[in-house]
């Protein structure tokens, strides 16, 4: 069922869910939302499954014309107007046929998520609806949205009979300076003690070469112990690779699955969504996290998602 006609597509808008798993060995990246926390919040606010497919909007959102009565929710700090009137994010919004939803710029952070009641309907490819644009896999024909596209939803979705609102204390704040935890390794031996200290005690800024595949960072060069040619091995989102110039590259959701740069550390899973909201010139500090602490953080994070869902305000 066609829910929206895309009048303007925004800067870079794709369909994403929680990612595509099980195909790394065939070279297929995980993809999925850069900020999976916000995607889950958007879904909660229309009573969807947490992992239903949403639109991921980057820096500037699209303009959409509703072709049906539909319920939506927006997660993220982005300007939003319905028929020219300012509207709030972080809550259920009831749209009627003909309504114009126009997004402006993202104010803080880098990405915002639009959930529709029941989820966005694109074919499941290799177990996921996420878009991997470089590989033309999944989402809307493997590409970003363009003007004239139709965003489809599922037929026979029961609307919810109330509005859900995210209490203020749970609204994430996106800072231009973020700190993320890392588990050291797996190629720590490629770096000197001094190189490791450089990495852990200096902020690194995102350059303009930052997209869903990864972020090139600017900051003090990380010293190698010796120039060993590393034999290519596997990469996951959050891997901090250091090429010969000593400036780290953090891989993100659409990262290729193998690579030959030594990896000094890997960002802890519970912090990856924070990194997904970083934009060029934002500063990132990495701090060492023990594996057991990282695991506890991840379990706490998953628990928190459940707690938030139970604390949404309902307005009838």
């Amino acid at each position: 069922m066609k829910l929206f006609r895309v009048a303007t597509p925004g800067f870079f808008t794709t369909v994403q869910d929680l990612g595509r798993f099980g195909f790394l060995k065939f070279g297929v990246p995980i993809s999925g939302a850069m900020d999976e926390f916000s995607l889950q919040l958007a879904n909660m606010l229309v009573s969807n499954d947490h992992g239903d497919a949403c639109l991921e909007m980057t820096l500037i959102g699209p303009e959409l014309e509703a072709l049906h009565d539909v319920q939506i929710a927006v997660a993220g700090d982005i300007s939003l107007q319905i028929n020219g009137q300012d509207s709030d994010t972080w809550q259920t919004i009831n749209l009627m046929t003909g309504d114009i939803v126009s997004f402006g710029k993202v104010r803080t952070g880098c990405r915002a998520y639009l959930a529709v009641r029941g989820g966005i309907d694109v074919p499941i490819v290799l177990g996921s609806r996420s878009t991997h644009v470089r590989g033309e896999i999944g989402g809307m024909q493997g590409r970003q949205l363009k003007a004239g596209d139709y965003v489809e939803g599922f037929d026979a979705v029961q609307p919810i009979d109330h509005c859900l609102i995210l209490p203020r204390e749970f609204i994430p704040s996106f800072s231009r300076e973020t700190e993320v935890g890392v588990v050291l390794g797996p190629q720590l031996e490629s770096f000197t003690e001094k190189g490791l200290k450089t990495f852990l005690f200096n902020p690194y800024a995102l350059t303009v070469e930052a997209d869903r595949m990864g972020y090139r960072l600017e900051g003090p060069s990380i010293e190698y112990s010796e120039r060993i040619d590393t034999i290519s091995d596997a990469i996951l989102p959050g891997s901090v690779q250091v090429p010969a110039n000593g400036k780290p590259i953090v891989t993100m959701q659409d990262a290729q699955t193998t690579g030959g740069y030594p990896k000094i550390a890997v960002v802890v899973s519970a912090d990856l969504h924070v990194l997904g909201q970083a934009k060029p010139n934002d500063k990132i500090c990495f701090h060492e996290t023990a594996l057991s602490t990282a695991h506890r953080k991840l379990l706490d994070y998953k628990k928190e998602v459940g707690i938030i869902e139970s604390k949404l305000y309902r307005r009838f």
């Binding site: 798993f21 099980g22 195909f23 790394l24 060995k25 065939f26 070279g27 297929v28 990246p29 490819v125 290799l126 470089r134 590989g135 033309e136 896999i137 999944g138 588990v183 390794g185 797996p186 034999i231 290519s232 091995d233 596997a234 996951l236 959050g238 891997s239 290729q256 699955t257 193998t258 690579g259 890997v266 960002v267 802890v268 899973s269 594996l291 990282a294 695991h295 991840l298 379990l299 998953k302």
Partner: protein, 234 residues
């Protein structure tokens, strides 16, 4: 060793060799067979295996013990794996392989010699990476091992067969790339609608069969309708 908080990396050596790589694939197979709870997926590469897991369902230490045990026992009976041997048709040189001339000059060989050496060798699929379905094949005969292009191309066409140092590989789709392109195969290597999505699997064996430009277009026309079957019956 830990690879972040949701994967562990098992190192089985530090050289690119068919022997080390065979152990990676044997361990991969053993882990797949063992079906440990909490293990999500494995990524075999040249000399290591990455295994992702859900920390809510399995502990790192417990998995390390299990994998070490498997490694010990799988060493005893390597590798009972069924050999998959593929033969892939390739047009060498000309517009299909714009770097064949350069590769030949680099080694002071005739183009025909390079083609003969490239197509007589049987290669192991060490791993799949870079882009979906891209097989890293080795080992290339030393006589034709060639460094990458100084300036990578912005667009290498789908099916291009390239050389980089002592490896060879095939581009499953158009992509930027720095490999020396010596030929082109008329077949699809990856389709997200296939199950599994890649024609070749890590651990398979591949040979190349030189074909003419006419045959290239013939195979391409027929292979566009169905999946090309390059596997040789044992």
């Amino acid at each position: 060793m830990p690879f972040g908080d949701r994967a562990l990396k098992v190192e089985l050596g530090n050289i690119i060799s068919p022997e080390v790589n065979a152990r990676v694939h044997a361990l991969h197979e053993a882990i797949t067979h063992a079906q440990f709870s909490g293990v999500c997926e494995c990524v075999p590469t040249y000399c290591s295996l990455l295994m992702t897991y859900d920390p809510a369902k399995a502990s790192y230490e417990e998995l390390v013990t299990k994998v070490n045990h498997l490694e010990e026992t799988s060493k005893a009976h390597v590798p009972k794996r069924k050999m998959h041997k593929a033969v892939l048709p390739v047009v060498y040189g000309g517009d299909f392989g714009p770097d064949l001339a350069q590769v030949s000059r680099f080694h002071n060989l005739k183009e025909g010699d390079v083609v003969r050496m490239h197509s007589q060798q049987e290669y192991l699929v060490y791993m799949i990476g870079f882009i979906a379905g891209f097989p890293y094949l080795g080992k290339l005969p030393e006589e034709i091992a060639t460094p990458r292009l100084e300036t990578p191309r912005l667009r290498v066409p789908e099916g291009s067969v390239g050389i980089a140092e002592n490896q060879t590989g095939i581009y499953p789709r158009q992509a930027p790339g720095g490999w020396q392109i010596i030929g082109r195969a008329p077949i699809k290597l990856f389709d997200s609608l296939w199950q599994p999505p890649a024609l070749l699997q890590p651990g398979d064996f591949v040979r190349f069969r030189p074909i003419s430009a006419e045959e290239f277009w013939q195979i391409r026309a027929s292979a566009s309708e169905r999946r090309y079957d390059p596997f040789v019956a044992e």
